[in-house]
Every structure is written in C-alpha cells, then in structure tokens.
C-alpha cells in the first residue's frame, strides 16, 4: 500500500500503546504473555453494637464476612481475559428495626437486632474481555452472583479512546443488571414477600486529562437507574401510634447521579504518588453524599510498596427515612435502615506489598471504618443507633507465570 494519506497526520500527541504492543508482539519470540493469578483472603468484622444503643441493653455481635477471591488474567496477543471468582460466607446478626427505648418515657431510638444468626454463602463470577478494535480499547463484562436467597446477572460494555493530537483520554460505558430475591423465612421474618426482582441500568462517561508530565486528572459522571423491589425484605420499621411493625418499604425506582474527580500526582524524586479523589453523589431519594479520599503510594527499597490512605464520607438522609415513625406516612414508605440515615464516616487504611523470588508477590492490608453522626457535614439531630464500625484485614498472594 502507498502511505500518502499519513503525510497529513498531525504530529502525535495521542499515541496508542496497544497499537505498538500489538505490532511488537507479532515479532517472533517477543510474545511473553504472562498469566497472572491472585488469591485474596479478606475478613470483614463489624464491631459489637454496644448495649447502650440496643433495645435489650446488651452488647450484640454483628456481621462477619470471610471472602476468598481468585483472579486469573491471561493476555492473548493484544487481547486480555480476566476471570474473578469470589466465595463468601456471611454470618451474624444484622439490624432489624429501631424503636424508642421506652415508648412514651424515653424517645431515644435504640436498635433491635435480628434474633437469628444468619449464615449465608455467596458465589460470584465476573468475566471480562478486553480487545482493541478500530483504534478504541473495548471491554466486555459478564457477571453472575448467587446467594441462598439472591441471584444477580449482569453485563456491560465500556470503551477507552485517545483521540489523535490531544493529551486526554475519553472513556464511557453502560451496564445492566437483573437481580432476583427469594427471601427465606425465619424467626425475625415470618411474613416476608415470596419473591421480587429489580432491573438496574448504569452509564458513565469520563475524561482523563494529562495536565503535565507528573499530573493526571480524571473526571467522570455516572448515572444509575434502579427499577423494581428496592426494599430490604428482612427489615422492619416501627410505627409508634400502632404500635406496630411494618415492612421496610422504599420507592420502586431510584435514580442516582455522581460526579467525580481523581487527581494523580507523581512525586518521582521520592518514589511516591499522591492520589486525591473526590466524589459527589445525589439521588432522587434526596440523599446527597460527599466522599474524599487521600492515598499516598510510597515505593520503598527492595520492592516494597506502602500505601496509607484516609477516607471521609458524609451523607444526608433519604426523604422517607426515620429512625422510627410516630404514624405511618401517607405514601406508605418506611425505612429505618442506617444506610439511609444522615451520617458521616471516616476510614483509615494501610496496604503493604512485597515482591518475592520466583515471580511471587505477597501483600496485606487493614482498614478501620467508623460511621458516626458527628462526622457528617450537617448536624445530625437524631443518630441512627445501628451505625456501623468495622475492621477489614486482608492477605493477598500473587504469582505470574
């Protein structure tokens, strides 16, 4: 072929690594495709709920989750396949409903925990396929997740594109998930619904800006739409006038918007990188939330990498949320879920990684998280008693072949 048309091309500012890699890997003996495998164990443990916040005045153990994750990433020419298989066991008591400590005497909301200990297993398989096509990097994902009472099937397509002559990258994607729940009946849920489902659609668009040689700014917007059964079939809400317990009942639709900015600043002189992320969230249940995260990636001698990070979160409450209700709302909505309550949270995390002989890598980390009304931007007048505090410990073992 004659290459005359290339003459008019502008001097490149948006080169494609995948194009160069594809050409390099076509050379004999250069395709050193490495298969990566990772095994991750993580333990999530919620702190006991203190008796002072519980209806029966006794400390109560909460949720524990043991997670085992196996990841396999296999490049094939300029394409890549990734499989993630997760197995989790979940056990412990969870918040059931909130009531006044002594109706008519002491209005302080206190938590009632689900009596029966829940023990569940969850298996999740996520597959993804990355391929360059027509100058654009594409990704296709498929997922399936199953629990004793829950099944979710999801899929998505995303892309990343660097136009010629610019120093930014455009990305976007859409996703869909179908979730079906068939709740189990138990001591704390004798009258739950038989089954329900929901559809979720998500979309995002982002631009990654190369500000200068050491600084990259990623900005993104995303949208989510959930339609169907969005309540928690195992939770109740307390209505004082009854007095009675009603089923947790939320709107059948939820629209979510987020705007986020992530700044990556390399401090090459000291072998470090600063990551600063901010995210604003708003949904049509009236929840507004802010997340701010700072992480410091520090390379240490002899292939050690230490990453301390700090996260702060604050949200306002859903319009229909209350710790408990004096009388039933006219629209019938009711939820005392602490995740819909006004609160703030802080999390501190440390990760450490080390490369070992024979293409092994080990790592570990710990995260401590605490939700509290006092961390929120706005004053929280009545704090939900079920706010959570947890610790996550994880161990990771990686091997490249």
């Amino acid at each position: 072929m004659k290459n005359d048309e290339r003459r008019t091309r502008p001097a490149a500012a948006g080169p494609s690594l995948s194009a160069l890699t594809a050409a390099a890997l076509a050379l004999p003996g250069l395709a050193q495709a490495q298969v990566e495998t990772d095994l991750l164990y993580s333990r999530y443990e919620e702190a006991d709920l203190p008796g002072s916040r519980e209806a029966n005045g006794q400390d109560s153990e909460r949720y524990e989750i043991d997670t085992y994750l196996f990841r396999l990433a296999a490049p094939l020419g300029d394409q890549a396949f990734v499989a993630n298989v997760t197995y989790e066991t979940l056990s412990g008591a969870s918040p059931w409903y909130v009531q006044p400590r002594q109706p008519g005497v002491d209005d302080t909301p206190v938590q009632v925990m689900s009596g029966a200990s829940i023990r569940e297993q969850r298996t999740d398989v996520q597959l993804s396929w990355a391929l360059p096509l027509a100058g654009i990097d594409w990704g296709v994902t498929l997922g399936y997740s199953t629990e004793d009472d829950y099944r979710a099937t999801s899929g998505g397509i995303e892309f990343e594109y660097t136009p010629q002559g610019v120093a930014h990258t455009i990305s976007g994607g859409i996703g869909y998930s179908y979730d079906k729940i068939e709740p189990e009946r138990g001591a704390s849920s004798p009258d739950v619904i038989a089954e329900a489902d929901k559809d979720s659609l998500s979309a995002f668009a982002g631009v990654s800006w190369v500000l200068n040689a050491k600084t990259v700014l990623q900005t993104a917007i995303s949208y989510g739409l959930h339609d169907g059964f969005l309540s928690d079939p195992y939770k109740r809400a307390y209505v004082a006038d009854g007095p009675t317990l009603v089923a947790d009942s939320r709107p059948g639709e939820r629209e979510q918007f987020t705007v986020s900015a992530r700044l990556r600043r390399y401090l090459s002189g000291i072998g470090a990188a600063l990551h600063a992320d901010y995210r604003f969230y708003r949904d049509d249940w009236d929840i507004e939330a802010h997340t701010l995260e700072l992480a410091w990636h520090q390379m240490l001698a002899e292939s050690w990498r230490l990453t301390p990070s700090l996260r702060w979160y604050s949200q306002s409450q859903a319009s229909f949320y209350a710790p408990y209700y004096q009388s039933l709302r006219s629209d019938g909505l009711a939820s005392s879920d602490y995740r819909l309550s006004p609160y703030g949270a802080v999390a501190v995390r440390v990760d450490l990684r080390k490369a070992l002989p024979g293409d092994w890598e080990i790592g570990g980390g710990a995260e401590w998280y605490e939700a509290d009304g006092s961390y929120a931007i706005d004053t929280v007048e009545v704090e939900n008693p079920g706010l959570v505090e947890f610790l996550i410990l994880n161990l990771r073992l990686g091997k490249r072949f």
């Binding site: 490149a12 390099a24 076509a26 990258t169 090459s268 002899e302």
Partner: protein, 295 residues
C-alpha cells in the same frame, strides 16, 4: 544456588553484558549468538544483509523479505503512525550530511537535497514486498534493532531456564527476572553531562531504554548538536537532554524514548503520559521529571 555471572562482549556498536544466575555458560553463549545473528542480518555495513539488499534495490524493484523482517517493518510502520511520522526508518540518509565524528555542521542546502529521500509514506510496503521508490533512499534498523535484540536475547535466556538475569545492550536493558532473593536490579540511568548515573531505577521485570543528546552528539560554537535528527527538518532536536522509558518490551521503551526526544521538552512529556508508560526525563537544565519511582 548458581552463581551470578556476567558475560561481556561488543556488538551492535557498543558494550553488551548478560548478567545471569545460571550454571554453565550455555545460556549466555546462546544469548550472544542471538545478538550476532541480528547484527549480521540487519547490518547496513554488510552487503549480504537484508537491509543492504533493500537499499541497493532502491529506485528499481521490490524486495521480498522474510517473516521476521516483515514483522519488524510492520512495527516500524506502526511506530511511524503512532508518532505522527517522527519515528521514521528512512531518515538514516541524513548521515550523508551529518558527520558526528568529524563534528561538522552541514549547510542547509546539503540537508535540503536529502529531505526528498526521507519519509516512510513514500515507501511501498505490501507484505512481504518492500520497495524504495527512489534511488538513494535507505532504510535502516538502527533506531530499534538494538532494542529488539535485547528483547530477543531475554527470550533466549528465559528459554534456557534463566529466571534471574538482565540483558544490557549498551544501556538498552531487558530484565529477565529479579535477583534470586526477589530484589530488583538497580538500573543506573546515564547522566547526560557527566559520567555515572543521574538516577537509579529499581526493576524486577520488563525493560528500560534510554535516548539522549549525549550519545554521539557534539557541541559547536556553543550549540549542542544531538545525533537525534528530526526527519522533517533534517536538523538535530533540542529541548530534552535525555529520556528513559519503562515498558514490557525494550522495543517499545526505545521507540517511546526516541519519540519523546523528537517531540521535545514541551510535547514529549505529555505524549509519554498519554502513552501510559512510566518514564524519566532530564530537561536541558538537567532537571529530572517523569513518573518513574527512582532513587
């Protein structure tokens, strides 16, 4: 545990060193043989090399090339595209005007006479046939042959069971695997104005390649003339003193480093950042920048 041994030889115009932790010298001998094979096959000084055959046929007929050469030409075509025409294997004819040994600055007329002979877009490349349309045109693999050789030798060592080793072909480096205890190789990045290293980069695997105005350049009347020539103007580039890039393949690291030098201080760093590979730059004032963790 087998001892760490260093096998040194001279090839591809510079000092080569194979550092391996291995018993016997079979692996390093095979590695050296691979360097010599590539040098022989792609040398423009040997009449029987494929490069000489193509250049001799310039202005006449197309030359049929073998699979390895075809893959290298495909790579050169891709690099030409991705660099917006800056990475160009036909720019070697500028050597007729630029004699870096004699440190002579050519007249503009000499360069102008050569520019019509430069440009990959003029070449007819229809795998496996390559045709240089005008007599006097040339291609050469000097811009990426050494980096390709480093990748090939690393593959040869790995095929011989080497798990801990490093290939160093005059500073173009491909790490086969970390030291036996898992610790990285500490790669010194050449100081562009003095002996020794301006920075040290720890590397466990993959490659690092460097390009700088210190290689075969000269200073005349207060101006530095780098051997890195812009194929569009025929003149040396200035702006950056040196660039080092990390990549899985030394070939890509070298291409990226060369392109960044050609793009200069203003556009080079952004181009590298857009490419997404870790890099280290030294600007004309000898200030360090880039995204490589180093000490």
């Amino acid at each position: 545990m087998p001892p760490l041994r260093v096998h040194r030889f001279t090839a591809l115009g510079g000092p080569c060193a194979l550092h391996v932790q291995a018993d016997g010298d079979e692996a390093v001998r095979a590695g050296e043989a691979e360097v010599l094979r590539i040098e022989t096959k792609y040398s423009r000084y040997r009449d029987d090399s494929i490069v000489s055959r193509i250049n001799t046929a310039a202005g006449t007929e197309a030359v049929e090339v073998d699979d390895e050469t075809a893959a290298l030409l495909d790579y050169a075509a891709t690099a030409y595209e991705q660099s917006g025409g800056l990475f160009d294997i036909t720019s070697g004819v500028l050597r007729r005007a630029w004699d870096f040994k004699a440190q002579r600055v050519p007249a503009q007329a000499e360069i102008d006479a050569l520019l019509p002979l430069i440009g990959w877009h003029r070449v007819t490349w229809s795998r496996p046939y390559l045709r240089l349309p005008q007599a006097g045109m040339q291609i050469d693999f000097g811009g990426f042959g050494k980096e390709y050789a480093a990748d090939r030798v690393a593959a040869v060592l790995a095929a011989h069971g080497v798990r801990h080793g490093l290939v160093d072909l005059s500073g173009d480096i491909h790490v086969v695997g970390p030291h036996a205890d898992g610790s990285p190789w500490q790669i010194g990045v050449q100081h562009p104005r003095a002996g020794g290293a301006i920075a040290t980069v720890p590397l466990v695997r993959g490659a690092i390649a460097s390009s700088g105005d210190y290689e075969r350049g000269f200073v005349r009347d207060g101006r530095r003339y780098s051997h890195i020539l812009d194929p569009r103007s025929g003149w040396p580039v200035d702006g950056l003193a040196a660039v080092s890039v990390l990549a899985d393949q030394c070939l890509i690291a070298g291409t990226a480093a060369t392109c960044a030098m050609l793009l200069g201080a203003e556009r080079g760093p952004a181009w590298l950042a857009a490419l997404g590979l870790p890099y280290l730059i030294v600007d004309a004032q000898l200030r360090l920048g880039g995204s490589i963790a180093r000490s």
